[in-house]
Amino acid sequence: MTVVVASGKGGTGKTTVSIGLALSLDRPVDLLDCDVEAPNTHLLLPNAELDLASAQETNRCTVPVPRVNPDRCTGCGACSAFCGFGALAVVRNRVLFFEDLCHACGGCALVCPEGAITEVPHEIGTVVTSRYGQVHHVLGELHVGQTLAPPLIRAVKERADGLTTIIDAAPGTTCPVVEAARGADAGLLVTENTPFGLHDLALAAEVLADLGIPTGIVLNRAGIGHEDEERLKAVSRRFGFPIVMRIPFSSAIARAYAEGRPIVSAVPGLRTGFRGVYDELTRMARSASGAASGARS
């Protein structure tokens, strides 16, 4: 089963939950950090060896971008007219290419009547693989200035090789979140019970609901006061996303977090809690796929 862990905004403890879940299951787990603009799972995993420098394997992730052969190019402008991203401009029979706007769709090479465009690999980021106990950790990191997250996210996801996969998605509702979540069997949305937290939770819930992913809500830092239980329940009801876990606000958790230790080793009982969440998600995924195949037949 593949579980995507998402959140409406940053700082809700999404990564803490991803790691907590991965370390609680007594089995091999693929933990995929798909928050490629700001990956941080390696910082919260409990071993120094897992830092990026000493990773077992680093792979470059490239996308094909156009290169124009000026000897063949007639300056007809077909490539520029085709490109929906404004990455090509043709002036004075010369093609100017703006790499950071290119979505690597390959269209310009197809439409060029002179065969002047070939595709060359352009590195957008790296995929780093390492192992911690039963956790097979795969992390994607976009190079500074690169914006094309989806191909890198796909490269990270391709590395999952086991039966249980946990995906740490970027916070928010942008297209990298959709790319990370696509195809997941179940989702977890991590939130805090604050007005902003609940507002963003609803937005993120919409994304997962649109993708048809059965999802549970994890309330983090529960019990800090000023909470609007009714509003949280309203979001839960509106999307049919049950509240599957409440992680209390506790000084032991805060300390573990500050020290970069996983919270499951700091607070007894959390492991059992995460296992329960996983079982619940498994049930939800089963009944959702059952309902889907029922509807199809």
Binding site: F85, G86, A87, F98, L101, T147
Partner: protein
């Protein structure tokens, strides 16, 4: 010569739009005959690469100079490749900008004046 001035509103006095790329109109002026054409900027609402695409359009229209408020790196690179001079001004109306240009009181920009809106793109 044919001038292009980024334009915000068309009813007199037509106002200059400080942004190259997203201006709703482009005013083309032939400095010899004073003939003026106002074109709606169909690219203004594009999602990405607007500056470079508008610069390409300006080149296609045969302009040899642009007057605007500020210009990003992609647009500047395209205008530069097209050998179109870029003049920046703080004038608020098209007429005022034209007068300043005629009096030779506008500076031509040698570099983009802003970072652009997608992180500052330079062509290869």
């Amino acid at each position: 010569m044919r001038l292009c001035i980024t334009t915000a509103t068309t009813e007199a006095p037509a106002r200059l739009d400080r942004r190259f790329g997203r201006s709703p109109f482009l005013t083309f002026v032939d400095t010899e005959t004073n003939e003026t054409q106002i074109e709606e900027n169909s690219l203004a609402d594009g999602a990405s690469g607007v500056g470079a695409q508008v610069a390409q359009l300006v080149a296609q229209r045969g302009a040899t100079a642009v007057i605007t408020g500020q210009i990003g790196p992609s647009a500047f690179a395209v205008l530069d490749a097209a050998e179109i001079a870029t003049y920046t001004t703080t004038a608020t109306t098209v007429a005022e900008a034209l007068t300043l240009f005629r009096e030779g009181r506008l500076d031509s920009a040698q570099a983009p004046t802003g970072p652009g809106h997608h992180g500052g793109s330079r062509p290869r």
